[in-house]
Structures are given as structure tokens and as C-alpha cells.
Subunit: 189 residues, 2 copies
DNA sequence: TGTATTTTTTGATATAGATTAAAGTTTAGG
DNA sequence: CCTAAACTTTAATCTATATCAAAAAATACA
């Protein structure tokens, strides 16, 4: 798993052997069973996770108890309740294992410590933020301009792995439509 | 207007007199009449704007020609079609003056140049990205979990200036509801 | 200052997609 | 394997909010 993370980091920034060792030393392994929660509403998100195996789901819950999924992180992706991670405030987002998962995590404290001791880490974080921003804005645009059919078609086109790998319930939550509507779309589109 | 920008920058980062001068030298003034467009669909967003006076609106348009507003920037705020600014690709977002406006702008090139020559600018950009991310995620959450009434109430609570200062058409576009629905909400809520 | 244009309000109707309900189908653990 | 639980499909109904239409009010400008 550390090898996966090494590849990920080397792909984004240029660091020395020593710096890489320092960075990796802050990441600890963690295994989760399916459906286990990492962050619950109101908790502060104090860790960022790297998915070695499995899938993490980040989602909101509205007053009626219905959830809306913001993001799925599969193998070799980072995930965190980023708003809470940034602001230090309690999280409106939950993190849950959508499958049995094996992760590496780094604490908020160590993450910010790295910003101070590894100059390139600032650039790593910048790219991370940029990517997260672009991703979220695309999601926002999708919800503001597309109907159920268009959202489903786009997902099928751009990220079919979500549809292939996860149960309808979670796909529907990601598209913010009901399971029944998704089921009908699958048989028609 | 340069004074406003100076205050804004000093509020976010610590820079020397000289560095500040360098930074300011890259910003040029620009006046816009109401409704004038700064970035049109498909153009690349090559500038970031600081609003000295007036208001900028950033929005998407869907296939039916209906627009959805992502952000309003009033006095002493920055605004840009950030996805395009980050990726360098053509913009899905438009920028328009919602009122007669006086701006300062910096080009993408100069902005990135500053990242190289003023060490603190990286931190300035990081805070900018963090704020933009937090803001967008809150918008996303709002659209995913709130109905028209809830969205209106929250806006009234958290950002009443938008309702007070801008016409219904733009407020409705910001909430992603029809003008008629907004009008009915205003008379009831 | 009066007329044209734009914005807001109000009412009637339409619709996408939610909800409810129940029958099939798949999956996982004992 | 077998059975209980979880998931998916299908159909009928409901609802929030859009759309359409037209009057009323506000604003701009000639």
C-alpha cells in the first residue's frame, strides 16, 4: 500500500528519497469493514485517507434522513471531509466504507506539519485543492443544469465504474435521484 | 481601489513593502457597465478580478438557455471562472457585471508568476482556494438537501445583501428556482 | 413628465420525479 | 446448499415547483 502511495506522490511532486521517507512515515494503515463510518456528523475531520483497496463514500444527510453522496474514492485516491479539514470545524459530511477497504491515513496535524518541513508539500496540497475544487464545481454544475436522464448518461460516460461497482442505492444517492428512478433509467437508457 | 486591495492582501498574508508594490503592479483597473460580459462560454478565463465597486456574477447556462448563478462577488471580493483558471481549458462559466462595476484584474500569467517570485503568494492562493472550495461545497450541500423554502430562508439568514441588492431574476437564478416561486416565497416567508 | 420597458405578482395548469406498495431477484452467511 | 436479508423492478399515486399567461407595479429614458 505504501508503494501505491509512493507512486501517487511521485506522480504529483518531485521529492528526495529522504523527504519521501518523512512523508510516508506520517501515514498509518487502517482496515475497515463495509459500511463502517470514519467521520460522523458533528465530529471534526482530523484525518485524510488514501485508499489502497476498496472504496470510501463521502456524503451529507438531510433532515428527513436521506443521504446525498458527494464523492466516491476508489483505489489510489485521497478522500476526506475537506471542509471540516480546512476549517477545523465540525463536519457536515460523513465518511463511510462503501466496500471492505484498506487505507492509509495522515492526521490533520501531521499534514500541516509537512507543509512546514517539506517545501514541495505545499504544491502537493495546492494540486489536491485544485482537483477537489474542479471536481466539486463540476458536480455543482451538473445538479444545476441537468435532469435525471442527463445526469445518468453523463455518469455512464465519464465514470461508469461507479455504476458497475456499487449498488443502485449508492449510485442513486450520488446522482441525487431515487432508486426507483435510477432503476427505470437503467432499463430505458 | 488599490487601497482596498492592499487592505485585502494585508489581511491575508504578511508581505514587505516591496513585495506589496510588486503585487499591486500586476493589477490593472477596469470599468464595466451593467450586464457587460467578461468571460463567455468556451473562452479561457485568463484573468482574476478584484471588485472595488459593484458586483460580478458567475453563472452557468443550460441547454434551454436558463442560467444558474454560482457566485456573486461584491466589494472587496475576488472572482474568476476558477475551473478554467485552474485547468487552462475553456470555461463553462460566464462572468457578468450585475451592476455598474469598477474592478482590478490580474492575468493568469502574472498570477502564476507571483507564485514564483513572492513566497507568500502561494499561501495567499492556498487560502483563496480553500475559501472557494468551502463556499462551493456549501452551495452543493444546499442544493442536495434543501427545498425552495429552506434555500430562501438560509439566504435571508446568511447573505441578505443578495436579496436586498439584486433583482429577483438574479436571486432566483442563485437559488436555482423560478422567479415566480421566489416571488411567492417572499410574500409568505 | 409621460410612455415604454422591465420587473414583480398572481392564478391556472402541467410535469418530472418522489413516494408508496408489492412482487421479483440476488447475495451472503450459517 | 438454504433461507433471511438486501437489493431491484414495476406500477399507481402524489407533490413541489416549473411553465404559461396576464395584470400590476416599478424603472428608465426620450
Amino acid at each position: 500500500m505504501y508503494e501505491q502511495l509512493t507512486d501517487y506522490i511521485n506522480d504529483k511532486i518531485k521529492v528526495s528519497e529522504d523527504e519521501l521517507k518523512t512523508i510516508l512515515s506520517f501515514f498509518k494503515p487502517l482496515k475497515l469493514r463495509k459500511n463502517e463510518l470514519l467521520v460522523t456528523y458533528g465530529q471534526t475531520s482530523e484525518r485524510t485517507f488514501f485508499v489502497g483497496k476498496g472504496c470510501l463514500r463521502i456524503f451529507f444527510i438531510n433532515e428527513d434522513g436521506q443521504d446525498a453522496t458527494r464523492y466516491f474514492a476508489f483505489e489510489n485516491q485521497f478522500a476526506t471531509a475537506l471542509v471540516s479539514f480546512i476549517t477545523g470545524g465540525p463536519s457536515d459530511e460523513f465518511i463511510q466504507a462503501a466496500e471492505h477497504s484498506e487505507l492509509l491515513y495522515i492526521t490533520h496535524r501531521d499534514f500541516y506539519h509537512l507543509l512546514e518541513i517539506v517545501p514541495q508539500w505545499e504544491s502537493f496540497y495546492r494540486h489536491y485543492l485544485e482537483k477537489a475544487y474542479v471536481n466539486n464545481t463540476k458536480r455543482l454544475m451538473s445538479f444545476l443544469t441537468q435532469d435525471a436522464t442527463e445526469k445518468y448518461r453523463q455518469l455512464l460516460d465519464e465514470n461508469p465504474v461507479i455504476i458497475r461497482r456499487l449498488p443502485n442505492k449508492l449510485v442513486a444517492s450520488y446522482l441525487n435521484i431515487s432508486q426507483e428512478t435510477l432503476s427505470r433509467l437503467k432499463s430505458k437508457v
